[in-house]
Amino acid sequence: MKTARAVAIPLLLQLALGGAARVTLPVAQAEEYPVPPPPLSDGIFPCSDCHADLEPDPTPRVLGMHEEIVERFHHAEAQRWCLDCHNPSDRDKLRLANGELIDFGESYKLCGQCHGTNFRDWRAGVHGKRTGMWNGRKEYRLCVHCHDPHRPRFAPIAPEPEPRRPWAIDTASEGEPSAPPPAHGQHGSE
């Protein structure tokens, strides 16, 4: 049968390439949570393009720049401002509370500092969306692929259309009359 062949070929390949697979394994492990690149706004990265020449001012304040972020910023804003997450000296990095610098592609470590239970569930593949193979390679999403880091709560979205009610579904083949709606109400509440 087709299927027997489909299973056998990858198996044979794996056996034949056994040596090669063993060599690449450490690389696969280093890439612990395979995520797509972070969704940086167009034209804004690398931040150092502008910030390299600016003297960092560590005083928490309402910025005169980055208005679109300042306006929508809603993420415990009473306790937090830019440099709690963005690194003042090298702006192309984020900074953890312990001072460690990380890439934007590892921002889940930053979010996980406060959102520990979500981080735990995310690592298990239960918080957030995961795609790929249920018994093979999986693709994770960074927190910021779904949540705007400056305003993490989801905005409501438009739903897909409701299903047609049973009596409104025209099952008639061409030439046949379709069934009339029932006289009294229909299944389900309004």
């Binding site: 239960v126 969306k129 249920w134 093979g136 739903p159 409701e162 509440s189």
Partner: protein, 305 residues
Amino acid sequence: MSTTRDPHDTISRRSFLKLAGLGSLAIPAGSADASIWEAFFRKSFREMNRDEVGAMLERLERRYAEEHGYQLAVKVTGPLPGVKYGYGLDLSRCVGCRRCVYGCVQENNQSRDPQLHWITVLRFAKGEKWVNDLERADAYYHAEAVPEDGYFYMPVQCQHCEDSPCEKACPTKATWREPDGIVVIDYDWCIGCRFCMAACPYGARRFNWGEPGLPAAELNPDTHYLGNRPRPKGVVEKCSFCIQRVRENPGRYPACVEICPVGARKFGNLLDPASEIRYCIDNKRVFRLKEDLNTNPKFFYFFAT
């Protein structure tokens, strides 16, 4: 393929059909080509040997091409050893957007017109009667934006019951539970009596009242015999956990898992302690729908928060 069989049933059905054929009740001799006869007198899927399955698939693919212009492959990939599929749905995340409903339609070749869905998203008012009362939920909510204040949403599809009432009700054994737990339907063996629909406590089954309308351009050509191959008029269908995807090795997640924008849907092997579904069961507040009926579903609703 499962090996459960009841020779008595199928033999008596076959001899009945032979008699009927002799009495020239069935097919007008002039128009009948060999493949129609073969299809008519074929064995039950679970009794076929490889050659017979192969011949049947060829016949099917030819008929799909001739009658509908569908260019597709029908596979019969069997269950993976050591796997029982389980599904998890996070009610604390679902926003009721119905992306899963239409993602499923595309993946599984449901009829577009007349409309047929395998997933129903139910809307409940918060604080009202609890979710076992499906009749009072609203499947037809219309909203500009979701989630709406004061409501929560619960998608329902086949729960792949371990002790499935639908299977018991089927008089022709056209629906059965596979070793990996997927409850399947052989559309060519289904006589359309809809006993299974009456038996299913979850309203998970759908009947093709009309000729399914599926434009060839919208066809998903990767099909499984027991899953998303196009169906004829007059048969019952339902969710198959995307059997055409999940039985590959490695197997893809079901389409509804991948399309859900909030990641509310989880899937995996119940027998693997490291799987996502086991993590949900071990760590979250889980319930199954209508547990009091002892259908033992493999579909788990949970609250992640």
